[in-house]
C-alpha cells in the first residue's frame, strides 16, 4: 500500500458471478470498508489505523480504480446486492460495515436488505439520503464545481485536499479520471441518494453511528442531524476542524471516535 507499512493483499474474487477486486489486510475481527466517490486514495490512512486491530476487507466498486465498469453493476442498489453476496461468501459471522461518503450510501442500501450479516454501521460523512424541498441542495454538485470550489467544500485542511486531489492528479491522472467517471455512473441521478430510502432506514434494528466533520461544507447545514434521525438506533459524533472526510482532516480523532464502535 502506497505510503504506509500495512501489508494489503489484492484478491480478484468472483461474487455472484461478478468479478470483484477486494483489498484485504490486518488482523482481528473483520470489518468491511467501503470507499468514497473519489476511489481509494483517501482510505489509506483509515486502513493503516484500522489494520492494527482489525482485518479490513475493502471491495472496489466496479468501474473505480483500475477495474472495468460493469453493465450489471451500475447502480448503488446493484452494488449493495453484490456486497451482501460478498458478506455471505466471506464469513458466517456478521460484521461491522464502515462506509465513507458514497460508500456510506452503499452501506445503508446493504443494511436495509440484509438482516443477518451486518452487526452495525459506521458512516463517515455519509451520503445517500435527501431531505427538504426540491430547491434545497443537500449535497454540493460535484460535477459543476471548479477544482478550487471543490477543495473549499470538501476539506478543512487544504494540505489534505492537495493529497487527495492535486497529488493524485500528478501521480495517476487516468485512475483519477476513471474514478470521476465511476462516481458519475453511480451518483449522477438521483444525485447521490435513493428517493424513499428513509422508509426502510426507519425500520433498521442495528446501531448506526455517524461520524462527520464540524466544517463539512459539502453537505447542507443540519444534514447529518437529519440523517441520524432517519435511523431508530443512531448516534452522531462531530469531529472538530474537519471537513467532509474526517479521517483525512483529523485521522487520530476520527480513529478514536471510530474504534469503540467496532469493538
Amino acid at each position: 500500500m502506497r505510503g504506509t507499512d500495512t501489508a494489503i493483499s489484492i484478491e480478484q474474487m468472483t461474487v455472484a458471478g461478478e468479478s470483484l477486486k477486494v483489498l484485504r489486510g490486518g488482523n482481528g475481527p473483520k470489518v468491511l470498508v467501503l470507499h468514497d466517490e473519489w476511489g481509494i486514495a483517501g482510505d489509506e490512512i483509515l486502513w493503516q489505523l484500522l489494520s492494527k486491530e482489525f482485518e479490513i476487507i475493502a471491495p472496489i466498486a466496479p468501474g473505480f480504480e483500475d477495474t472495468a465498469a460493469s453493465s450489471r453493476t451500475s447502480t448503488v442498489r446493484d452494488l449493495a446486492l453484490l456486497y451482501n453476496a460478498l458478506l455471505v461468501q466471506l464469513s458466517e459471522d456478521p460484521m461491522t460495515v464502515i462506509g465513507v461518503s458514497f460508500g456510506a450510501w452503499v452501506a445503508i442500501e446493504m443494511a436495509v436488505m440484509n438482516k443477518t450479516k451486518i452487526t452495525n454501521l459506521v458512516l463517515l460523512g455519509p451520503l445517500g439520503l435527501r431531505f427538504g424541498s426540491p430547491e434545497q441542495r443537500n449535497i454540493a454538485d460535484l460535477f459543476a464545481l471548479s477544482e478550487p470550489q471543490l477543495v473549499e467544500s470538501l476539506y478543512a485542511n487544504p494540505d489534505i485536499a492537495r493529497m487527495v486531489t492535486s497529488e493524485s492528479l500528478r501521480e495517476d491522472v487516468v485512475t483519477w479520471a476513471r474514478n470521476r467517471e465511476a462516481s458519475a455512473v453511480y451518483g449522477w441521478e438521483p444525485y447521490f441518494h435513493t428517493p424513499g430510502l428513509q422508509c426502510w432506514t426507519e425500520q433498521l434494528t442495528i446501531p448506526v453511528a455517524i461520524i462527520h466533520g464540524g466544517e463539512d461544507r459539502f453537505v447542507m447545514d443540519g444534514y447529518f442531524e437529519r440523517y441520524a434521525e432517519s435511523f431508530p438506533i443512531s448516534s452522531r459524533i462531530e469531529i472538530a476542524r474537519s471537513g467532509h472526510f474526517p479521517h483525512l482532516d483529523a485521522p487520530q480523532q476520527t480513529f478514536e471516535a471510530l474504534k469503540p464502535l467496532l469493538s
Binding site: F143, V173, A177, E181
Partner: protein, 383 residues
C-alpha cells in the same frame, strides 16, 4: 454542391467575461433582455429568409442555458422556418438525442415540421455537446448507446403505419407507439449525423447517412471523410459526395479587408466569452484517456488548436472562408481539393457581433457571386 446557411442566433450584448463564471450553463439570465431577444429573433429569421433567396438551404441547431445560442428547441425554430419560407430545404442539426428523455416527442415534432414544410425537412441526430449535459442533467455515460437506441426507436415510429407497436429497450420504454401525423416524406426525412472523429464515421457510413463535420479544418475533415468512404467501401457501397458535409464559418464582403473586419466581429464570442472547464470536460462523455488529457489542460479533439489563431489562422486552417467573393470561391475550392470533396457546404454566416446589415450583404454576395461558381463542386470527389 448543396449550400446551407447556419445561424447560431447568439445574444450579442453579453457582459464582460469577468462578470460571470461560464457563458454556458451558469450565466444568469438577468443579463438577458427579452425585448432584445425578440428583436434578435426577428433579425435572425429575416437573415434565414434572405439566405433562402440567395440559394441556401437553411440549417438550425439548439443549445441550452447560454447566451451563445438562443434556440433551446430546434423543433420550434425549424417549425417557424417551415412557415416563414417556401422552397428552401430545412436542416435540423440537430436533435441532441442522447440527452432527450422522450425520443417519441422528437419523432412527433419532426413529423409535424416535415408536414408543415411539405417535405422540405432533413433531420440530424447528434449526441450533444458536453456543456449541454448539465442543462439536461443527462447521464454522461453511455451517450452513444442512447443516441443509437433513440435513433432506432424514432425510425421505427416514423415508418410504422399499422397502429401501435411495443418498444421496451434498455433506456426507452413505450407500449403504445403510434405517432400522428406521420412524416410527409416517405419513408422518412433524410437523416444526418455529425462527428469530429474518425471512429464514429464508419457507423454513420453503415447507415448511409449524411456525415457532417464542423469547423474541423483541412486535416481532420479530410480524415473523417476518408474514414467514412473507406467504411462504405468495406460495406460494399460507393458513396457519392452528397453523403458528406463540411461546416465552416463564412463571411463575404466587397473587399478582402472588409470581410476580415466582419470576420473579426464574428469571432467575438470565441475570444470574449468563457466556459468553465467543469462544463466542457464531463466525466464519461469522452474516453477516459481523453478526459484525463483534458484534466491536464490538453485538448481531446484533434485539431482543436487550429481554432485558436486569429482570422488569418482560421483561414489558413480551412475553418473560415472569408474575403471578397473570388477569394472565398478560391478558398472553398482549395478546401474541397485538400479534403477530398463533399456534397454539402454549411456556412456559419452569423456569429458573435456580426451586424445585421453586413450579414445580409454577405448572404447576398454568397448568393450572387460565390454559390454560382461552386456549381462544379459536389458532383464528384476531388480525389
Amino acid at each position: 454542391m448543396q449550400p446551407w446557411y447556419f445561424s447560431e442566433c447568439g445574444y450579442e450584448d453579453l457582459p464582460d467575461a469577468s462578470e460571470y463564471e461560464s457563458v454556458r450553463v451558469t450565466i444568469p439570465n438577468s443579463y438577458c433582455d427579452p425585448h432584445v431577444v425578440a428583436d434578435l429573433y426577428d433579425r435572425y429569421i429575416e437573415e434565414w429568409i434572405a439566405a433562402e433567396a440567395a440559394g441556401f438551404g437553411l440549417m438550425a441547431n439548439e443549445h441550452h442555458q447560454t447566451g451563445v445560442n438562443l434556440n433551446p428547441s430546434v423543433s420550434i425554430v425549424s417549425a417557424l422556418l417551415a412557415r416563414a419560407t417556401t422552397t428552401a430545404r430545412i436542416l435540423v442539426l440537430g436533435h441532441q438525442l442522447a440527452y432527450r428523455r422522450d425520443p417519441i416527442r422528437v419523432a412527433e415534432e419532426m413529423a409535424v415540421v416535415d408536414v408543415l414544410s411539405r417535405g422540405r425537412l432533413e433531420v440530424g441526430f447528434v449526441r450533444g455537446v458536453p456543456s449541454d449535459v448539465a442543462p439536461a442533467n443527462a447521464q454522461p455515460q453511455g451517450t452513444l448507446k442512447r443516441l443509437w437506441e433513440a435513433h432506432d426507436l424514432i425510425l421505427r415510429a416514423w415508418t410504422s403505419h399499422d397502429g401501435p407497436f411495443n418498444w421496451e429497450s434498455e433506456h426507452y420504454h413505450y407500449r403504445q407507439v403510434n405517432i400522428w401525423p406521420r412524416p410527409f416524406q416517405s419513408p422518412h426525412p433524410p437523416i444526418w449525423m455529425t462527428t469530429s472523429s474518425t471512429y464514429n464515421a464508419p457507423e454513420i457510413a453503415r447507415y448511409r447517412y449524411v456525415c457532417a463535420t464542423f469547423l474541423s479544418g483541412y486535416s481532420l475533415a479530410g480524415k473523417v471523410f476518408h474514414a467514412y468512404r473507406e467504411a462504405a467501401h468495406e460495406a460494399g457501397w460507393d458513396p457519392a459526395p452528397d453523403r458528406l458535409a463540411y461546416a465552416g464559418m463564412g463571411f463575404v464582403a466587397e473587399t478582402d479587408e472588409e470581410a476580415r473586419a466582419g470576420a473579426e466581429r464574428m469571432m467575438w464570442f470565441s475570444r470574449n466569452t468563457r466556459t468553465a472547464p467543469q462544463f466542457s470536460r464531463v466525466p464519461g462523455y469522452m474516453t477516459t484517456d481523453e478526459y484525463a488529457t483534458m484534466v491536464q489542460g490538453g485538448s481531446r479533439r484533434e485539431g482543436q488548436g487550429q481554432r485558436d489563431g486569429g482570422v488569418q489562422g482560421l483561414i489558413d486552417n480551412g475553418i473560415l472562408f472569408c474575403g471578397a467573393p473570388d477569394t472565398v470561391v478560391q478558398q472553398v475550392e482549395q478546401h474541397y481539393e485538400r479534403t477530398g470533396g463533399y456534397g454539402h457546404l454549411i456556412i456559419l454566416g452569423q456569429y458573435g457581433k456580426s451586424q445585421h446589415a453586413e450579414t445580409m450583404r454577405s448572404i447576398e454576395l454568397f448568393g450572387k457571386e460565390v454559390l454560382p461558381k461552386l456549381g462544379g463542386l459536389g458532383l464528384q470527389f476531388a480525389d
